[in-house]
Amino acid sequence: VSSLRGMYDTSRILRGTSYSLLGLPISILWVIVFSPLLGVSLGLLVLGVGFMLFSIALRLAGAAAGVERWLLAEAFRIDVKRQPRNPTGTGFSSLVLDPLRDGTYWRELLFVYIRAIFGPAAAVIVITCWVFPITAISSIIWGWWVIDGWTVLLVMLGFLSIFVGPVLIAALTEVQIATAQLLLGPGQKILLERAETAQRTRDLSAEAAETERRRIERDLHDGAQARLATVAMDLGRAKRRLEKSGGDPEIESIIDAAHQDAKAAIVELRDLARGIHPAVLTDRGLDAALSDVVARCAVPVHLDVRLLRRPAAHIESAAYFAVSELVANISKHANAKNAWVTVRSTKTTLLIDVSDDGVGGVDPTIGSGVDGIHDRITSIDGTVAINSPLGGGTTVMLEVPLTESFDR
C-alpha cells in the first residue's frame, strides 16, 4: 500500500511535471549555449586554442550544473552536493587545465548533454501523460455520431492512462533525479573519503578527550591528593604525640575526627580520580584496571582477560567504564552469587562478556539503565547484546572493532 501511495504521491507528481516541463526551455538554452561552443572547440582542437575553448565549455557546464542543482533543490528539496573543486593554482595554465583534469567538470558536462537531448523527450512524455486521458475520453464527445470499435478502444485507453500516466511521470522523475545525483553529486570516492575523515576526526577527538582526562588525573595526583595525604600524615603524627604524652582527651578527639575526615577525603578523592581516568589503565592496561574494579565489587567476580595486544586508549577507556558500570549494576541489582567478566581479542575485534547468576530480567531496550553502556560502546562503533531472562541471570556481550592504526 505504501508503495502504491508513493506512486500516486500528488505533490511529487506535480513537482515532477513542472521539473520535466522546465526541461524543455532549459534544454533549448543548453543547446544554444553549448552546441556552437563545443562544435567550434572540437573543430579547433588541432590548434591549441580548441583546448582553451573546451575548457571554457567545461567551466560553463559547471555553471549550468549550478543552475540544475538549484532547480533540483527548488523542485524536490534535494540538496545535491557538489564535489569540492581542487584548483592547482591561479596561473593561466591551471585556469585552462584544471577543468580538463577534473572529472567533476566532465560529469557535469555529460549531465548538461543528457539534459539537452532527453529534456524535450521528458517534457513530451509528461505532456502526453496529462493530455492523452482528456483527449481520449472526450473523443466520445467530439465523435459521438460514430461510436465504432476504435472509439471504444480509445476511451478505454484513456481511462487506463489515468492510472498509468502518474506512474510514468513518477518513474520518469525518479530516473531524472537519479541521473542528476549520479552526475552532479560527489563521486563514490569522495563519499568514502568523507566517511574516513569523519571516522578519523572522531577517533582523534576521542583520543584528545582521553589525553585531557589523563592530564586532570595527573594534576589531581600531584596536587590535591599529595597535599591531602600530607595533611592526614601530620594529623596522624599529632595523634601519636598526644597519645604518647597523655594530652587533653578533648583535643585528642578533635584531632582524631580531623584525621578520620582527612583519610575519608583521600579515599573520596581517589575514587573521583579513578572515575575521571584510572591511572592503572594507562600504566598497565585493561587486565590490571579491571582487577581493581572487580576486587571492589560486593559479588565475587571471576575475571579472565586475554588480549593479543593493547587496544587504543579511547577503546580501552570505553571498555573499562562499560565493564565498571556493568559490574556496579550486578552488585546493585542482580542479587547474584557469582559474576564473570571475560575479555578476549581477535585481530579485528574486542569481545567482552559480563554475566551473573542473579535475578535477570534486565530490560535491554534503550532508556532502561543500560543507556550509559550503550552510549559508550556505540561511540566506538561497538555493539551491545543483552540476554536476561527473568530468574535466569544476565549476560551482556560487548563487541568492539579494533582499528589497527590506533593499536599500541
Partner: protein, 212 residues
Amino acid sequence: MRVIIIEDSVLLREGIARLLEDEGIEVAGVAGDAQTFKVLWEQTRPDISIVDVRMPPTHTDEGIRASVELRETHPDAKILVLSQYVEERYAKELLADGHGGVGYLLKERIADVTEFVEAVTRVAAGGTALDPEVVAQLFARRRNPIDALTPREGEVLSLMAQGFTNAAIAEQLIVSQGAVEKHTSSIFAKLMLEPSATDHRRVLAVLQWLDR
C-alpha cells in the same frame, strides 16, 4: 633504624620523613627518581628503602623496576613500595625472588601512623607487608572460590597473606594466639600446603596457592 625515601613529590617526601623521625627512625637520605635511588642506596646502605611506584621519567612503574633490579644484585635490600593504586602484579614482581623483606602498600596507609610504622619495622626485619586490597584482588582473581574455608578461616588467610604473624593476627581478631594457630593449621591442611617455618615463606605459599 635507618631509612631512605624515594618519592618524587617533595610534599609527600617531607611528610613521610617527619613522620618517621617522630617515631625515632633515622632518615638517611631522600631522592626523587629511580637512578638516584640506586646511588643513594649504595652510599647509605639503609635498613629499608621506602619507594614510590610512579616516578619520572615515564611516571608508570619506575619504582617497581628499580626495586626488582636492586634486589637482583643485593638480595638483602629491604624495600617497602608505596603505590597510588593496587596492582597485584607489582606485588608478584616484588615477591618473585622469594627473599622476603619486601612490602607493597597503598599510599593512603601512611596516614595510619601506627600501622605504617609497624609495616616498616616488619619489612626491615625481613618480613612481608602486603596491602589488604592486594590480597582482596588476589582472592577475586581465583576462578574457584575458596568454599572449603569457614568465614573466620578466610579472614585468617587474608591476614596471613598480608604478612602478619600469628601474634599480630590474634591481636587484630581479638582471639588467643592458640586459636589462630588452630585456624592456620586447619587452613594449611584444607589447602594442602606445607606448613612453613617463617612468616614470609607462609605468605609466598599462600600467594602461590591463590595464583594457582
